[in-house]
Symmetry: C2
């Protein structure tokens, strides 16, 4: 049952924003009483945190060469941008919406971005680039920039521009793609 709550909370929170969705709405959407919802989560705030926490679990794995894996990742981005219901990065949106800089959402958002960056970094180390630290951050900027641009422009193809830029940066660092 907590999972069903989280599924619905995810859809509504991500699709409409944290403050825009009330607990009544969530409970009604599932078809449970508000009391039941509060028996599983002590507060709306806790539900929001659990919603973000649930979005942490996912990092792709593959055996292709690093350069190829990274470019593939940008192609995955384009599909994500095109899927209906796309509304930008859930973590960035949450941080932007919650004014308190000490809110737990900040840690979770940071952890997510750090996870993704680490994935890049390991691949870059394997590709023996000179500065995996710096380059992994640069790739993250392209990813997050593409997400913001796709949200504002409502155009999934910005992912392609991000992929092209990534290719340039990787090539300049001596990475090959096959």
């Amino acid at each position: 049952m907590p999972e069903r709550i989280l599924e619905t909370a995810d859809r509504l929170f991500y699709g409409q924003g944290l403050r825009a969705v009330g607990v009544d709405t969530i409970a009604a959407e599932i078809g449970i009483s508000k009391r039941t919802l509060y028996n599983h989560f002590p507060s709306k705030d806790a539900l929001m945190v659990a919603y973000l926490q649930r979005r942490l679990r996912l990092v792709p794995t593959s055996t292709k060469p690093p350069g190829r894996q990274i470019l593939d990742d940008f192609e995955r981005l384009e599909r994500a941008f095109g899927s209906d219901g796309f509304r930008g990065c859930a973590f960035v949106n949450a941080v932007a919406e919650l004014k308190d800089p000490r809110h737990a959402a900040n840690e979770i958002a940071l952890a997510f971005k750090e996870m993704r960056r680490q994935w890049f970094r390991e691949l870059l180390k394997r590709a023996q680039v000179a500065d995996p630290e710096g380059l992994s951050l640069q790739l993250m900027l392209l990813v997050d920039g593409a997400i913001a641009a796709a949200l504002v422009r409502r155009d999934p193809t910005v992912a392609r521009a991000a992929g092209t830029a990534a290719r340039t940066l990787l090539a300049a660092a001596g990475v090959s793609f096959n």
Copy 2:
């Protein structure tokens, strides 16, 4: 008086989010009655739109060579990220917070991003790069990515990583920096 309202609305809306700030709060902050505020703006929604509209007016001008101007721009970013009260991109945040995709905020956000991109594009044309269309978009991705990263990581120095990436992309396109 409308300007004083907009100044305060800007500070509060940008600093805490659109939904997080009520018109009572804005009026109280200025020290005017809510009635006065509603005599200048017909609704909170109109005030939000005016707040975003007011943020449209600003594009830097300079006589330095294009490559240098662009790199300078990324240094300006770092200063902006470090200024207290930095809370990401007002336009992206607004789009993320307003679920309605037909809200006027979307057009304004798009116009802003398009303005900034055009500034890049003109500089790149002047630098005679092969694809100013594509490269200007790539630079925009770095800017927006840096904004998101600076917000989540609470670290202004990500602007430097963006600047480094921009330098690589520009160099690969044959742009010089002096």
